[in-house]
Point group: C2
Chain length 202, copies 2
């Protein structure tokens, strides 16, 4: 349950090339299938689209949950890497907003991802939760940087900001949300995150 990998080879031969490429192909296809159909998509579908027998999928990932978790870990790690890259590469004031936009746009149509963002943030205690935590921390760093740069209000804290990130991602992932509407929705949220001027509402 801990490491979602294929058979450990403590023994002899390294690992056959076809096995490795099959594993990668399955993972790629699974990300798409679960993205489109949510976590209720069937394992058979994954196997079919990967041109692989159903048994091969279960050999590499002992359980459907393990496969789903592997997909999520891959995705969370990729997003975290992007967040950390933005942390250093761009204007410290806009990096946060850039990543916010990137994440929401990336989630478009990926049902399982949005769902997982939330669930993994919750009780789950596996690798996915760990990867999710890493992403959350990276977002926290971006947020602090933006606050120091004066681009985001000081009284906004990570929990509510992350909740907004997840909420808008899910909206973008699940619903039929046109790009234009999505952008206007984000514009409102970004305005809400901007530093308060003079007076304060509510």
């Amino acid at each position: 349950m801990t490491t979602t990998d294929s058979p450990q080879n403590g023994g002899r031969r390294p690992q056959r090339a076809d096995a490795r490429t099959n594993r990668e192909r399955i993972l790629t296809v699974a990300e798409e299938v679960f993205g489109k159909g949510g976590e209720s998509a069937s394992t058979e579908e994954v196997a079919r689209l990967a041109n692989v027998g159903i048994a091969t999928v279960f050999r590499h990932f002992p359980t459907k949950a393990a496969l789903l978790e592997a997909v999520l870990v891959q995705r969370f790690d990729r997003l975290r890497a992007q967040a950390e890259a933005l942390l250093h590469a761009t204007d410290s004031g806009t990096a946060f907003f850039d990543f916010f936009r990137l994440l929401v746009a990336d989630a478009t149509g990926k049902i399982a991802i949005g769902e997982a963002l939330q669930q993994a943030g919750g009780n789950d205690s596996g690798d996915a939760a760990r990867a999710s935590d890493g992403l959350r921390r990276a977002v926290g760093a971006l947020l602090q940087q933006a606050q120091r740069a004066g681009a985001v209000r000081d009284d906004a804290e990570l929990p509510e900001v992350y909740a907004l990130l997840v909420a808008t991602s899910r909206a973008s992932a699940h619903g039929r949300l046109e790009e234009e509407v999505r952008d206007r929705m984000l514009a409102i949220v970004f305005d809400g995150l901007a530093p308060r001027r003079a007076s304060r509402r509510r």
Copy 2:
């Protein structure tokens, strides 16, 4: 598929009293069960908690989807009524925000409701979609009233506002979101919806 009702009695006797109360009890229990477990909750669970045989559930609602739809229609209609009540009863500037808060608070823990808000807004062409439309229109009225009262920025339109409503509802429904965090999340969104002052960001 059109009317989610029990047998039409074009024939003779009206409808037995026990049948009617059973139907109502099933509907009530179903709202709770689907709220807690999402749409993947089983029909058997509903029957058991309603102290009713499984066949009775299927007699009143020919299909699991029909049962779910009936639950949603009931919920949408109730929310629409609340929205319309607020439209007249309270300060025209705050009615919109009051309803926003009410809807999000009401969604807490009701998984299926949040999911349905979105799906019903999408392709579905049944009664649920009709009820969802009614709710959406009521929200539109609240929004316009608030804009006329100067409480909400003029350039915010229904699609993105409704998307935000759905997004925050789902966040509240699905995740382990503490009440305090939820309120701060809403405060940010409300600030974003407030009329712009002087300059404009992004």
